[in-house]
Amino acid sequence: MTSALISIFIVAVFIENFVLNKILGLCPFIGVSNKLDSAVGMGTAVTFVMLMAGVTTWAIQAFILVPFKLEYLQTISFILVIAALVQFVEMVVKKTAPALYQALGVFLPLITTNCAVLGVALLNIKKGYGLVESAVNSFGGGIGFFFALILMAGIRERLDVSEIPTTMKGPPIAFITAGLLAIAFMGFSGLV
């Protein structure tokens, strides 16, 4: 049981990395990877929301949608739950940790439209995971996102001071860098 969970975690973080392998959550990956501090904040917030969303949507699917045969409402209900969850997280963070709230700023509400969050919820259902497996997979996916974001931010801070042709500056070079990172991550396949 434990070893199966560990393998789900490792697959989610490295082999099927949400950003570099499954290509989910690109907007924040390119948009927020300019600076290392904001990348850390965004990564933490997304990891937390992904874990919460993975567990909540699993519960909704298992206890509401399936028993009442409402599976066709999956997309609508999941996105509403995620939007509500992000609002809730925003309120809690604002009350309990005002400093963190300041640091995350606009990134918090934007998590609703991060496709990694809805993506992990749908993938958990699709793969037929139970509650614990869903939680581990969601958390692993979040950590993978965090990891990719930090790597990218570190590289982009170096890119800023290097000489790049004008047309390649900003997003173009960021995508090519992401491509090279993705090739590096392909080296993890076969790990489990």
């Binding site: 570099l20 997309t75 996105i79 749908l122 699709k126 047309t167 173009p172 995508f175 992401a178 090739i183």
Partner: protein, 197 residues
């Protein structure tokens, strides 16, 4: 702005992918073959037309504060419709697009157009805008898919192309190829724009 301009601005000048850089996840994820690109493009255009029309019609009765949740519910409804339609009429396409069909809900192009255009303009203009943006999205997907399928598999729409098929670079249809081709294409677009200006 004339109706024609309203329609064609999305094709190139304000192309949602290459200029505004919205909706990147499905762009790179499903552009590994031309067939997938067309399927995704049509699905997204359908959702865009439906949501733009309805949001434009509702724009005066929806209170400003709750507009985003309302938009999301409208969009999610159309996504569910197209999801079920594709699953019923083309199971193969449904299988190869996978979770990227439900993920149209969080495609920033659709919410972006609702927020930036449909909630401020009339229904006719909104439909034209949706058709233009949807076509621009489809064209961008096809352009990326053209290079990826040709270089990665030596095929176009599944048909074998001689010369390219002898030793294809498999990496191009995988995630890294998508990132690299996309990066090169936006660099090219910028280069052409800077020459033209």
């Amino acid at each position: 702005m004339t109706m024609m301009q309203q329609l064609t601005k999305g094709f190139w000048k304000e192309n949602p992918i290459f200029v505004i850089s919205l909706g990147l996840c499905p762009t790179i994820a499903v552009s590994s073959s031309m067939t997938n690109a067309i399927g995704m493009g049509i699905a997204a255009t359908f959702v865009l037309i439906g949501s733009n029309l309805f949001i434009s019609l509702m724009r005066s009765i929806v209170p400003d504060k709750i507009r985003i949740p309302v938009f999301i519910v409208v969009i999610a409804t159309f996504v569910t419709i197209i999801d079920k339609l594709i699953a019923a009429f083309s199971p193969a396409l449904s299988a190869s697009l996978g979770i990227f069909i439900p993920l149209i809900v969080v495609n920033c192009i659709i919410l972006g157009r609702a927020e930036a255009f449909a909630c401020k303009n009339g229904p006719v203009d909104s439909i034209l805008d949706a058709i233009g943006m949807g076509t621009g999205f489809t064209l961008a997907l096809l352009l990326i898919a053209f290079f990826r399928e040709l270089l990665g598999e030596g095929k176009l729409f599944g048909h074998v192309i001689p010369f390219f098929s002898s030793d294809p670079a498999l990496i191009m249809i995988m995630a890294p190829g998508g990132f690299i081709i996309f990066g090169l294409l936006i660099a090219l677009k910028r280069h052409m724009d800077s020459k033209g200006a």
